[in-house]
């Protein structure tokens, strides 16, 4: 299976990105690991059904587990070829553009252990303050520092690895760190398959 774009995350920003790309005539696959919580519980359900009706392939209940990268002389300027999911672990899903829309901690787009905050699917660069004691403010109503943590991107919204952007992996939504730019799905270019293969 090969798509123009594969979106990791079927939440608000993942669905919005899918919607935009579908309108641009792209073939889109959304990997939606669980429904998002919403005051109107019907809404997330209907939004995914609506995307499917418009021609997106929605993999409900599946979970992106990792990426397959093209071999490159430059370790930090890489092109993503395909993603593995729980159901497609033996036969990865290929695309030309990938969008990370995994959400923050509750949605498991970001995870943390006692020392660090990390992005579990691709292991991209994550902006956070070292020292877990600095993640929270004791004042409940003060802005909580951990809410600003997230993946680092370049000005086009491409995800950074070791400070350098991946060629075709973008991030949107709350997974992006507070001071970094999320991608604008209406401006993402389809890479020319022949020239950069």
């Amino acid at each position: 299976m090969k798509y123009d774009a594969i979106i990791t995350g079927g939440g608000r920003s993942g669905c919005a990105a899918a919607e935009t790309l579908l309108e641009r005539g792209w073939s889109v696959c959304v990997v939606a690991a669980g429904l998002r919580l919403d005051a109107d519980q019907d809404a997330p359900y209907q939004q995914l059904n609506e995307l499917a009706r418009k021609g997106a392939v929605v993999l409900s209940g599946d979970r992106t587990s990792g990426g397959i990268w093209a071999d490159s002389a430059d370790e930090y300027c890489r092109k993503l070829l395909a993603v593995k999911t729980l159901n497609y672990d033996d036969r990865p899903l290929e695309a030309r553009v990938f969008i990370l829309a995994g959400g923050k901690f509750f949605s498991m787009g970001l995870r943390s252990d006692s020392e660090r905050v990390f992005e579990p699917v691709f292991g991209s660069d994550v902006e956070f303050i070292p020292g877990r004691e600095n993640w929270y403010s004791p004042d409940f109503f003060a802005p909580q520092p951990f809410m600003g943590f997230g993946v680092k991107t370049d000005t086009h919204g491409r995800v950074l690895f070791g400070g350098k952007p991946a060629l075709n992996l973008y991030a949107v939504g709350s997974i992006v760190a507070a001071n970094f730019t999320p991608a604008d799905p209406s401006k993402i270019e389809l890479p020319d398959t022949e020239s950069d293969a």
Binding site: L35, V57, L59
Partner: protein, 419 residues
């Protein structure tokens, strides 16, 4: 002997959002069912404290796995419920007869010509309703007088149907399942035609038992485990020969790929990647360019595809849809994903019949809508397509519209030089 799987229940991840309760088809129709959150992660805390907390209403779980699909925290809600039922729920003789698909199939097969009309007679249905607890409104699937395995031994040489195509030396193994063997051998024949046309021979597994799904859902854990071990041993030998193991039933596939390790605690990770539905196998061969199929240009069929619950959980319906789209004369619509309500042996039990039919109503309406009014029906035949045999019984009984496995549609659309 397979080792124990490393599967762990993760009930502590549940944050009580109740999304699973919201999507559970049983919750909509049955006030006696506590719902997946309460039956699964919540109830498990109590059961860990004392087994007396086991709630017998857990028998209403259809094991459709919609709870797991909806869970934002990746809690294996359905597995927790299945494991609890396996551990605590009891069963009776009726459950044993419904769950022992192999035994009943072997007993019924020689008497099929007599048994089929008897099982359809009002008197016998009434007696079974009263004495055995099998609902009289339910139609039993017919038994075939000749088993698929007998047909295979007589008509297949080196994996190819005799006189139809020449062996190529390439093979796949076929897990036929009880339905193909005892009820509908024609589906197995269709599979052979299709796989032979793709240039592969079909081998049967050295030993095959029922996948055990009915045993699991009726709480016969140790028997299910024994059968699973036989299947896994045979499949390991096939994998050792370099063969993929293909199947036609979504539920058998799901059970052997996921429930063996998640519910029966058997290690199957070595077999799992090689075990797949025909559509996934065939799509891969076509995509890589190894196989090209030629379809009959005059073939015409209107197909409404129903995603069976376990097919949705497997996430593979696109393989089937893409294959069906290859047939030039097929008009394909995808039905909204709703449960048909039968859930294997569940719908055969008289206490469950009404829940089963109420759950299925949405799907039956969608199917009738897809067909259109009968009087306006075109000359092109209309069928429902699904990989699940119990969905087939339920849809055929409740709507009167024929249901075909995609394998049968693909096989009958093949271009044959003898036509």
């Amino acid at each position: 002997m397979p080792e124990k799987s490393s599967y762990v229940q993760n009930l502590e991840q549940c944050m009580k959002c109740n999304l699973c309760t919201f999507v559970c088809p049983m919750m909509e129709v049955n006030p006696f069912y506590p719902g997946p959150k309460k039956a699964g992660p919540d109830g498990e805390r109590y059961r860990l404290m004392a087994p007396e907390f086991y709630d017998y209403a857990l028998k209403y779980c259809l094991n459709c796995k919609r709870c797991e699909i909806s869970c934002p925290s990746d809690v294996k809600v359905g597995d927790i419920i299945q494991r609890a039922r396996l551990k605590y729920a009891g069963h009776n003789l009726r459950d044993y007869m419904l769950a022992s698909t192999d035994l009943v199939g072997i007993l019924a097969s020689p008497f099929a010509p007599v048994l089929n009309p008897v099982l359809r007679s009002k008197t016998v249905k009434g007696a079974m309703h009263l004495l055995a607890g099998v609902d009289s409104r339910r139609t039993f699937p017919s038994y075939s007088s000749r088993k698929f395995t007998s047909w295979y031994r007589k008509n297949v040489r080196d994996g190819f149907i005799k006189g139809e195509s020449a062996p190529t030396g390439k093979f796949v193994s076929f897990f036929h399942g009880c339905y193909v063997n005892y009820n509908y051998p024609r589906l197995g024949e269709d599979l052979l035609r299709l796989v032979n046309a793709a240039g592969y021979g079909v081998r049967l597994l050295e030993k095959e038992r029922c996948c055990g799904v009915a045993l699991i859902s009726n709480s016969f854990g140790s028997q299910a485990r024994r059968q699973a071990i036989v299947n896994l041993d045979s499949m390991r030998k096939a994998v050792g020969r370099g063969e993929d193991i293909i199947t036609v039933s979504s539920t058998c596939t799901f059970t052997m790929r996921d429930e063996y390790s998640h519910v029966l605690d058997l290690e199957n990770s070595d077999v799992r990647p090689h075990l797949m539905l025909l559509s996934k196998w065939l799509y891969g061969k076509i995509e890589s360019g190894e196989v090209q199929l030629k379809f009959n240009p005059d073939f015409r069929l209107r197909v409404a595809y129903h995603t069976a619950c376990h097919m949705q959980k497997l996430g593979w319906r696109n393989y089937t849809l893409e294959l069906l789209k290859l047939i030039p004369g097929v008009e394909l619509v995808e039905l909204p994903q709703n449960c048909c309500g039968i859930a294997g042996t569940f719908g055969f039990k008289k206490e469950n019949y009404r829940y089963s039919q109420t759950i299925g109503d949405k799907l039956f309406t969608d199917i009738r809508l897809a067909r259109g009014p009968q009087e306006l029906e075109s000359d092109v035949p209309f069928v429902v397509c699904t990989e699940c045999e119990t969905c087939k019984w339920q849809i055929e009984m409740s709507t009167g519209i024929p249901v075909l496995n995609p394998v049968s549609i693909l096989a009958s659309a093949l271009f044959s030089s003898r036509q």
